[in-house]
């Protein structure tokens, strides 16, 4: 495809009899912040190592700028990696760690000095050059690793869960910093993570992987709002699933589904369906509204159900409600702590409540046979 910097074509990787990658294809554009997201063991690191040149694919091609990378050894690929454990050289100072790639090129001392200083400033460590890695904090080590990986000006930077060794607060901070650096230098980032929040907040595009396969590629918005499979819907954020049968195709965009214990609900129709199909519908908990009173004048585009609050989990900025509709049906509903109506009452455990959502927000992720 034109305009793509990194092309992965049907890459397979087997370890012994185990297939870690089962035909992965990707197109990554120049300058993109591209994330590989998936659960532990799905093959993210393996794919990254194949791009870096530490591992050879069993089949398939890796192209960079149209050039086949497979026969090129790791040290001659214009690709650098930030390792999960940083892999800083313990016997070298921060300065010499960052200078390492330049020393290999035997650049003159003055050039090395200027360039290292420039990159230490980029990662906000201008005064730590003389320290050894053992004398740095986790966040500082991370910054040194970033500077070292960038100083060669690679066309692609590979990051393998670079923040996983940091605590939550620092992780947030470093993520923003990584994003800033990406904007500043404009090179392509391939970012591996199993943390969906990380992937959604900084990526231009996300490839969701599962068991050695790509299951969906899209912008964070697409991945979150229109998951194409139950796996993606479930892996990215929280969601409600409910299985029912199609009873009526209302029009081009709406379908009526009958659920046991609930009755008829209208959902968005984005795939071919026929009456009688068994379908799995999903609706995100934050898309559902909840109240003890039914608001007046609600448009017919909303589905309205009623049930009893089984459990309330207060978590600061929001509350999570588990609303029971029947023996086997429960809805999770997230409510931000804003008042929809001036006279709205607090919702408590065991209250009878109404929940409603726009039909557009509920859609079908899987069609089964009847």
């Amino acid at each position: 495809m034109k305009g793509s910097l990194v092309t992965i074509k049907n890459v397979e990787k087997s370890f012994g009899g185990f297939r870690a990658l089962k035909g992965v294809s990707l197109e990554i554009k120049k300058g993109e912040f591209y994330s590989l997201l998936g659960p532990s063991g799905c093959g993210k690191t393996t794919l990254l190592r194949i791009i870096a040149g530490f591992e050879e694919p069993s089949a398939g091609a890796v192209l960079l700028d149209g050039r086949d990378m497979v026969p090129i050894p790791a040290n001659r690929r214009p690709v650098n990696t930030i390792f999960q454990t940083y892999a800083l050289f313990p016997h070298l100072t921060v300065f010499e760690n960052v200078a390492f790639p330049l020393r290999l090129k035997k650049l003159p001392n003055a050039t090395v000095k200027d360039k290292v200083q420039q990159f230490l400033e980029l990662v906000k460590l201008p005064n730590e050059g003389k320290k050894l890695p053992a004398q740095l904090s986790g966040g500082q080590k991370q910054r040194v690793a970033i500077a070292r990986a960038l100083i060669n000006e690679p066309s692609v930077l590979l990051l393998d869960e670079p923040l996983s060794a940091l605590d939550a607060k620092l992780r947030q901070h470093m993520l923003i910093e990584l994003d800033t650096i990406h904007d500043k230098i404009g090179i392509t980032f391939i970012y591996v993570t199993h943390d969906q929040q990380e992937a959604l907040s900084v990526s231009d595009r996300v490839a969701v992987m599962n068991e050695g396969e790509i299951v969906q590629i899209g912008t964070p918005f697409e991945i979150y709002e229109s998951p194409t499979s139950p796996f993606v819907a479930h892996f990215i954020g929280e969601t409600n699933y409910i299985i029912g049968a199609v009873t009526r195709l209302i029009d081009e965009v709406r379908v009526e589904i009958e659920f046991p214990e609930i009755g008829a609900v209208v959902a968005y129709r984005d795939k071919p369906l026929s009456v009688g199909d068994s379908v799995k519908m999903t609706i995100r908990p934050e898309k559902i509204r909840i109240s003890t009173e039914l608001p007046e004048g609600l448009s017919e585009k909303f589905n309205v159900l009623s049930g009893n609050v089984d459990e309330v989990i207060y978590s600061g900025f929001q509350s999570k409600f588990f609303v029971r509709m029947g023996e086997r049906t429960m809805f999770r509903v997230f409510k931000q702590h804003v008042r929809y109506f001036m006279d709205e009452k607090a919702i408590n455990w065991k209250d009878q409540v109404y929940i409603w959502w726009h039909y557009n927000d509920s859609f079908i992720v899987e069609v089964g046979e009847t």
Binding site: F83, A87, L88, F89, T93, L104
Partner: protein, 296 residues
């Protein structure tokens, strides 16, 4: 608690050191300052520096140089073999199996192993017969009774002492550092030289000491399969002690040898430490300066 029992813990070590180190060394030092009994050999308990002045002798000097040379060559060969061996052992899935292989020779007596080698390398030995039977040689190759045989068997005997300390340091080495170096543009060789070697210095130092010292004090190997050209200081001591029975000379030579080896070891360790700890010390100093500035 610890204070109360402290001396008790120390006692066995003190006894051990006294019995096997301090007392024998003292006896040797004492004997080195005695007078040789003429004719029959042994000592007369009378102070003399004769044994030391006798050491200033071109022949002994030549043998000392030869000893040093053989020990150096053997050590270099051992380290060169041990580093790759230990590296592959440490990276292998069958670490324990390989460790066992390295240790197995110790289960057999050292002299028996040397005689086994003689059976292999002798003029009528396995190797010569094999070479002759495939027609590569007409008569035989003289493998034994020269300096090369001494070096070969020294390497064979002490190689495990180089492999084991190297293995234990390489095993702790983080191999992802080599990948990082490759990623940053280093060839495999450069990654080894610039990243692996500096990080396993402690193991190399130990391996050098563990092999050089016994190689330098070697006496059985040159005695059995050496010739006049591979005569070592250990052989001189043995001969002075048992054949010539010049006990003061044997003692003075032992004292000088021990002193020189100890000094050499201390110098070597000092040199190595200053190299590895230099960077750390520099960084620590920088940190202290920073702390002081912050305090002001």
């Amino acid at each position: 608690m610890r204070k109360k029992y402290g001396p008790l813990y120390v006692t066995p070590l003190t006894v051990w050191l006294a019995a096997f180190f301090v007392i024998p060394i003292s006896i040797i030092v004492y004997y080195s300052f005695l007078t040789k009994r003429p004719a029959t050999g042994g000592v007369i308990h009378q102070f003399s520096l004769e044994a030391y002045t006798a050491l200033i002798n071109p022949l002994i000097f030549r043998i000392a140089l030869n000893t040093f040379w053989v020990a150096c060559v053997s050590t270099v060969i051992m380290i060169a073999l041990a580093i790759p061996t230990a590296y592959y052992m440490a990276r292998s899935k069958y670490k324990n199996f390989f460790l066992l292989l390295v240790i197995i020779p110790f289960l057999t007596n050292f002299l028996i192993r040397i005689y086994a080698w003689m059976a292999i390398l002798g003029n009528n030995g396995i190797l010569n017969n094999a070479l002759a039977s495939i027609g590569l040689i007409d008569s035989h190759i003289q493998f034994l009774y020269n300096v090369n045989a001494v070096i070969l068997l020294t390497v064979y005997t002490y190689l495990p002492f180089a492999i084991l300390p190297l293995y234990s340091t390489i095993e702790k080495f983080d191999f992802s550092l080599l990948e990082a170096a490759r990623d940053l543009g280093a060839t495999k060789l450069t990654a080894m030289l610039r990243i692996l070697f500096p990080n396993i210095r402690a193991g190399i130092t130990t391996a050098v000491l563990f092999t050089f010292i016994p190689a330098f004090g070697n006496y059985a190997i040159p005695q059995i399969i050496g010739d006049a050209g591979s005569y070592m200081l250990g052989n001189v001591i043995a001969r002075e002690l048992t054949v010539t029975r010049n006990w003061p000379l044997a003692s003075s030579l032992s004292v000088v040898l021990t002193t020189l080896t100890t000094l050499g070891v201390l110098l070597f360790m000092r040199f190595n430490r200053s190299a590895t700890e230099g960077a750390a010390a520099m960084a620590a100093a920088a940190k202290r300066r920073q702390g002081m500035r912050a305090a002001i």
